[in-house]
Symmetry: C2
Subunit: 169 residues, 2 copies
Amino acid sequence: MQVFEAVETLLAIRSYEEKSIPPETVTRILQAARLTASSKNRQDWDFVVVQRKESLQRLGELARTGSYIRDAALAIAVVVPNHPIGPVDGARAIQDMMLVAWEEGIGSNWVSNVNTAEVKAFLAIPEDRTLLAIIPFGYPTRDVGAGIKDRKPLSEIAHAEKYGQPYGD
Amino acid sequence: MQVFEAVETLLAIRSYEEKSIPPETVTRILQAARLTASSKNRQDWDFVVVQRKESLQRLGELARTGSYIRDAALAIAVVVPNHPIGPVDGARAIQDMMLVAWEEGIGSNWVSNVNTAEVKAFLAIPEDRTLLAIIPFGYPTRDVGAGIKDRKPLSEIAHAEKYGQPYGD
């Protein structure tokens, strides 16, 4: 899959087939994170790879907005330091993981609001680290189609030379 | 270019050929940002597209760590709201722009520490918005090679099921 096509079609997927992800594909997704650039090349991030059925089930219970984690074949918890650059670097790695998974036919979504004492304890994440997000992965249950998205037109978000001068493409 | 290849080879490029980027390619890079997912689909981001030679020069002077903006064919200033999710959403859009540009043979880099009164005034960015980064783009002056990167091994950053249990791929 070409890069632009992946960016264009990538959708948030919350419903997964009961089908496991090959180990080499899991590694490929992790390699995408590992190879991502970070501020000053700090690489101050950790990825907790959850594949046990009962653990996915439990994370689905604990994540307020991510009950569908229970149906995923894989969830990757992304851990960053507790300072502003941490989440920014983590977001770059997550984007790369989601795109590389998508190329393999695997859907995912970003589950936020998981940096709670309960979830951190369950994953044994140190208190002084931040759980930025949990990303569940799995093969989509439905045909994902052409990636039709609800987005603002370019003229609303792109400016020419100065803020406030609409960019005309 | 395939997605994994783009992630694997993407390098920070700070040295650009004196060659302009076709308008349709500039638009393609902006479309990558536009199509990116954001928290709750807020799309609360703005992209200031700078292509005037004298403006790029001035941004290079104003950006403490990004003097090389002066040599870029294009710079995109990414503006987000002043709350924690803003930079995270912005980072996702930036990652997509950098990957899509890379597919077109265009290098870029992330210039941070630009959210100063001077830079914001120059780009007419409202006071209550945050300038997350300026991303200069251009055709690389050197052969970018195979993307050899200085990265930690996977075993140092990936954990199996619980934090602290190294993931063996």
